[in-house]
Amino acid sequence: MLVAALLVFGFGLSGVSGVVAYFLPAISAALNITGHQTQGNSPNGNHPTPTPSTTPNQPFNVLLLGSDNDTKFAPDQVLAQTMIVVRVNPQAHSVVMFSIPRDLWVPIGNGGPAKIDTAYADGGAAEAISTVENNFGIPINYWVWIGLGGLVHLVNDLHDVNIVAQMPILDDEYPSDLTGGNPYAYARIAILPGPQRLGGVAALEYARSRHGDILSDIARSQKQQQLLLDIKASAKDVGLADVPTIAGSLGDSLKTDMSITQVTSLLTLAKAFSDGSVQQIVMVGSQYFSNGTIDGQSVLLPNWTGINALVAQYFPS
């Protein structure tokens, strides 16, 4: 009897060891990615922290931040060139993606006006959140930050994504900061229009290139939202056994204040949404902003009447 019990215990322990060994990288990476405190590094301080959504099935807002985190910038002072507020309504099974142009000239945190993409560089996620909340009146419940390499790894780990490229993308001055040794070097890229399957580098090129489009950053926002939906489609079959590979390769390129449990819930929720339930909002035109130059910088001067109407429509309090 004792021998049988020892055998069961021994084999059980061995099996558990195998499971732990397999998922150890994922657990380590997941702990590294999730549960980040919403701290700022601005001397201004006094940043609000996001308010977690505590009521199940209530709509909540996630601020997605994307950065060019190449060696041009100090690791903790990267601009957030991509800012997308995602409103998830679990009950209605609907999602709104609202892109904020990086050149929008707004009061930043507790300081003076600047381009909105500097908020994350100045004060981390906390200042990015307070800037969005104070200017747009949209409460932020969670935040997620991803760097360039993170997007490339994510797409590669998903075994590529399918996109319908909305136009030919030609860019003679695309930053070659990820592949070359010189972060200020340029590369010439061409992406053909229409349906196609892209690997991580090409997917990043599609979502990041802006020189070949008259709408520049605005068009880039449209393509970024499109890529997010394509990534969601590719991620739908990802299983538990895939997590170690994906989590391991993301490394320092992904951060969020959500807990592992909340991330898991969100991923489960995302699988239930169809593309038709996602509304993509990108501000285009003078009803939302006008072009201007301040301190030698090309900026977008907000037209709050138009912006507030849009926010009230898609982010009802």
Binding site: S14, V164, M167, A233
Partner: protein, 341 residues
């Protein structure tokens, strides 16, 4: 010692069991979208004639259900197009430019047609969608054009050179490059000397769209064949010259449809959808003009790699049901298959 031996053996078995669990978990990774080389696969339908396709930078020929590699030089091949006499026009990609070659049926280079090193005339670096005119005299293609007045503005435009002398100064057929809209691509030379191509544009709300247009001569004002709302591109003219297959987007650019419309030389008829999704691309007509071959994902999984699909009797009046030709490949969706008798 005798009593220790079974204990060691059991402990070794436990260790093997633990390692086995670890290994089994590794095999549980999603095997979704498992793809293979065409030479290790087989078509599901025996298509008549020969089909040439591109996968992972290599060119393959499909004949009697089997794929064989076309033994072309080891370039990164990204597009193939038919050429006179059974030859193949093939686009080779490099990190910052493309070159266009004429290959014979064995894959040997007959001659280099367009290269970046011969781009001294219009300073273009990319050449895609090569097409030889029906009379075999002219090579049309889409090339990049950099607007000298606006440094970032680089768009595709349609150019043409003599097929026998492709290093001649190109004739520019379309005025792209005015609005950073991507430009003009996918030329289809017609027997009357004009061309149909896809023109990309942008509306005042920032929506990008494509239209099929027709021009009778270089720089002539293009006539729109489709509307901005239809958002159609990737035209393929039937061998008889009376029908056009095209790819139109729907659902905020997340999916496409394959449509066929009659063509009388000046206008398109009402299009009929012959493949409703998820992402049909790059159609080509069968040599007898009775069916269309194209690339698409699996019908139930729009995130899957692109396979060959076939619509028999793909006339605007009698569309058939799409049939899957391959199951586990990963074809380059921006390269239309070449189908010869």
């Amino acid at each position: 010692m005798r009593r220790l031996l079974p204990v060691v053996a059991v402990m070794a078995l436990m260790a093997i069991f633990g390692f086995g669990i670890y290994s089994v978990l590794g095999t549980l990774k999603s095997s979704r979208h498992h793809t293979t080389k065409p030479t290790q696969s087989q078509a599901l339908i025996d298509l008549p004639g020969t089909v040439v396709v591109v996968q992972d930078g290599k060119i393959y020929r499909l004949n009697s259900l089997k794929f064989t590699p076309v033994k072309a030089p080891a370039y990164d091949w990204v597009q193939v197009e038919p050429a006179p006499g059974g030859d193949i026009l093939a686009v080779a990609y490099s990190s910052a430019y493309t070159n266009v070659y004429l290959l014979n049926a064995k894959g040997q280079v007959v001659r280099e047609l367009l290269s970046e090193s011969s781009s001294q005339y219009l300073n273009n670096h990319w050449a895609y969608y090569p097409k030889v005119s029906p009379d075999g005299k002219t090579l049309f293609y889409a090339a990049d054009w950099l607007d000298p007045s606006q440094g970032y503005n680089v768009d595709f435009q349609i150019q043409a050179v003599p097929f026998a002398n492709p290093s001649a100064y190109p004739v520019v057929w379309s005025q792209a490059g005015l609005w950073f809209q991507g430009g003009d691509v996918e030329p289809i030379p017609l027997a009357n000397g004009g061309i149909i191509y896809a023109k990309y544009n942008i509306d005042t709300l920032g929506n990008t769209y494509a239209q099929l247009v027709y021009v009778s001569s270089p720089y002539a004002t293009p006539d729109s064949l489709t509307t901005a709302a239809q958002d159609c591109a990737e035209p393929a003219l039937s061998p008889s010259g009376t029908e056009i297959a095209m790819v139109c987007t729907k659902n905020s650019l997340q999916s496409t449809t394959l449509q066929v419309a009659s063509w009388n030389g000046t206008t398109l008829g009402t299009p009929v959808v012959i493949s409703a999704g998820p992402e049909p691309a790059s159609p080509t007509w069968s040599p007898d003009g009775k069916s269309v071959l194209y690339l698409n994902t699996l019908l139930t999984d729009k995130s899957s790699p692109f396979q060959l699909w076939w619509v028999p009797k793909a006339t605007a009046l009698k569309p058939g049901a799409p049939q899957q030709v391959t199951a586990d490949l990963n074809f380059t969706a921006t390269s239309p298959p070449v189908w010869t008798a």
